[in-house]
């Protein structure tokens, strides 16, 4: 099997340009971030931060300084509110399970939306085993949560609401403050969690201004290293830990702290917030150039998610009709453009992206979708290259489709 992959890689030889737009699923780490991390592997702070020797104290100092920076960017009140976890998957698991377990005597109802990431959806489903029920709030055609349905769904038994600030697939910026108000008006004891992995570093996001109880942030989604994330837990909110083991500086996650990754996350945050407006404008310009360019050259397509200011600056998601997504991602890869698709083709479950289905896309529209995210490192030339490649790729795959499936 590895032999096959080697052949596949060989088929990519001779590319003149490569543009990676699959930030949703992983990303390259910028040199500046790697440089910031490297000394912490072998030069300093490689000790356990809870132990009484120099490398241990260095680690403690390093972790606290990194925490301080991230706490400031998030708008936290105290450093204890930042809890590092090995990623946003773990932070979401901690938020949902940890809250459910600590609140189990007050009620068994959880409310999420139909378009939450799998990290939230599957945990909520899993909690059924422990007697919890989950209500999934529907969204409109652009991915905005039905706030009226949200209001109706909250009662005295509701212990937790989890709604993403920005949808990870279609970039919808939710009215989180309004949603939070609705929830707290009906039940002040309900804990409000938001997965802010796609908001942090990309839109104005401040936990104190918003007033949320819990918020998930992710390192790799802001071009930090993978394997690092954090859960903001507002002072006074009780979340139970979900793993047992040796607790160190992180009271909600046992195990030895990964100091280099924490440093990397903090450095990536610094870079995202340094010249924040400039970075975000750059992304927005490239996002719109990509969307407009594709719309000008490729017929029979649909933009998934809202336009303009209601859409996160980095997200592009387009459905190409009569064009199967997996085939399209391979065709684009062979031309040096790396993207992902909401197609179900890699699974036998025959279900394409649940987010696209929830906003009313037909299955074949969802199978033909591409998800792309731009960063501050992408250039106009990169986007021009992508815009040169996409129309030809779509045309070739549509040529294979021919009249199949056209009624």
């Amino acid at each position: 099997m590895v032999e096959n992959v080697k052949e596949l890689l060989k088929a990519h030889e001779g590319l003149t340009r490569e543009v990676y737009l699959d930030i949703e699923n992983s990303s390259a780490v910028p040199k500046e971030v790697i440089d910031a991390m490297l000394p912490y592997y072998d030069q300093l702070a490689y000790g356990n931060p809870t132990l009484t020797h120099k490398p241990g104290w260095e680690a403690f100092e390093t972790i606290m300084e990194s925490t301080q920076k991230i706490a400031k960017f998030l708008g936290c009140g105290t450093l204890e509110e930042v809890n590092f976890t090995p990623g946003e998957t773990e932070a979401d698991n901690l938020a949902l399970m940890g809250t459910a377990f600590s609140m189990k005597d007050q009620g068994k109802k959880i409310v999420i939306s139909e378009i939450e990431p799998i990290n939230v959806l599957h945990v909520a489903d899993m909690l059924k085993k422990y007697g919890f029920t989950t209500t999934k709030i529907p969204v409109d055609g652009e991915g905005f949560i039905n706030l009226e349905k949200l209001r109706e769904s909250i009662d005295n038994e509701t212990v937790l609401v989890s709604l993403s600030t920005v949808n990870h697939e279609i970039g919808t910026i939710q009215r989180i403050k309004e949603a939070l108000q609705i929830v707290k008006d009906k039940n002040p004891r309900t804990i409000f969690h938001t997965d802010a992995s796609d908001a942090y570093g990309k839109i104005q996001f401040n936990v104190k201004d918003l007033g949320v109880d819990l918020a998930t942030v992710s390192s790799y989604k802001i071009l930090g290293p993978r394997g690092m994330g954090a859960l903001y837990v507002k002072e006074g909110v009780n979340v139970e830990k979900i793993l047992e083991g040796q607790i160190g500086t992180q009271k909600l996650w046992p195990g030895v702290e990964n100091t280099p990754l924490i440093v990397g996350f903090s450095k990536a945050s610094e870079l995202a917030f340094q010249n924040f407006n400039e970075n975000v404008n750059h992304m927005r310009v490239l996002r719109d150039k990509l969307i407009d360019g594709i719309f000008q050259t490729v017929p029979e397509i649909r933009l998934n998610g809202p336009k303009g200011g209601k859409r996160v600056p980095d997200n592009v998601n387009i459905s190409f009709l009569k064009c199967e997504g997996e085939a399209l991602t391979i065709e684009l890869s062979l031309k040096g453009v790396y993207v992902s698709s909401g197609s179900a083709c890699t699974r036998r479950v025959l279900q394409p992206s649940h987010v696209l289905v929830a906003i009313g896309r037909k299955f074949d529209e969802a199978h033909g979708s591409l998800l792309m995210k731009v960063t501050r490192y992408h250039t106009e030339e990169d986007i021009n290259y992508v815009l040169g490649v996409i129309p030809k790729a779509v045309e070739r795959i549509r040529g294979i489709t021919g009249s199949t499936g056209v009624e």
Binding site: A327, R347, G402
Partner: protein
Amino acid sequence: MIVSRMPLPYNPKVLELFRNPKNLGKMEDATVTAVAGNPLCGDMITFYLKINDQDIIEKASFESYGCAANIATSSIVTEMIRGMKLENAWKISWKSVAEAVGGLPSIKFHCGVLAVGALHRAIRKYYKNKGVSPNWLPQESTFEEKQALEEEELAKMLEKRVKAAEEK
């Protein structure tokens, strides 16, 4: 059940057929055409066969809405059956199709199954149109035909479910 998500290590043969599919396109003078699958499920195949009066497939072509494996297996089937008597083409199994493309990742087996399902349908349709029923042609649907039908039924069910949700 715990399932890991594997990458798709398509082999060079699949990649080659994906990049340069053989016998691609609609055939205007086809004796018979048949489809299998549904775009709602993300894969669908159309076969066009030109059959002479000795029941030999003179040429075959395809169109496919689907992934690289779907394209490759459809294309290879049209290669395999050219010049074949229908009785022999009928005997091609999805496993031999998978072998002919150098093997498929297990989650892509259904692409081979769908291609053979479409071929069986084309052969049945041909004899039905002709009003002949050769003794080697079984009355009962083959495994591949059943699988194709099952996928299409599933697509209909999904479509109904989506429509019901829209009306809610």
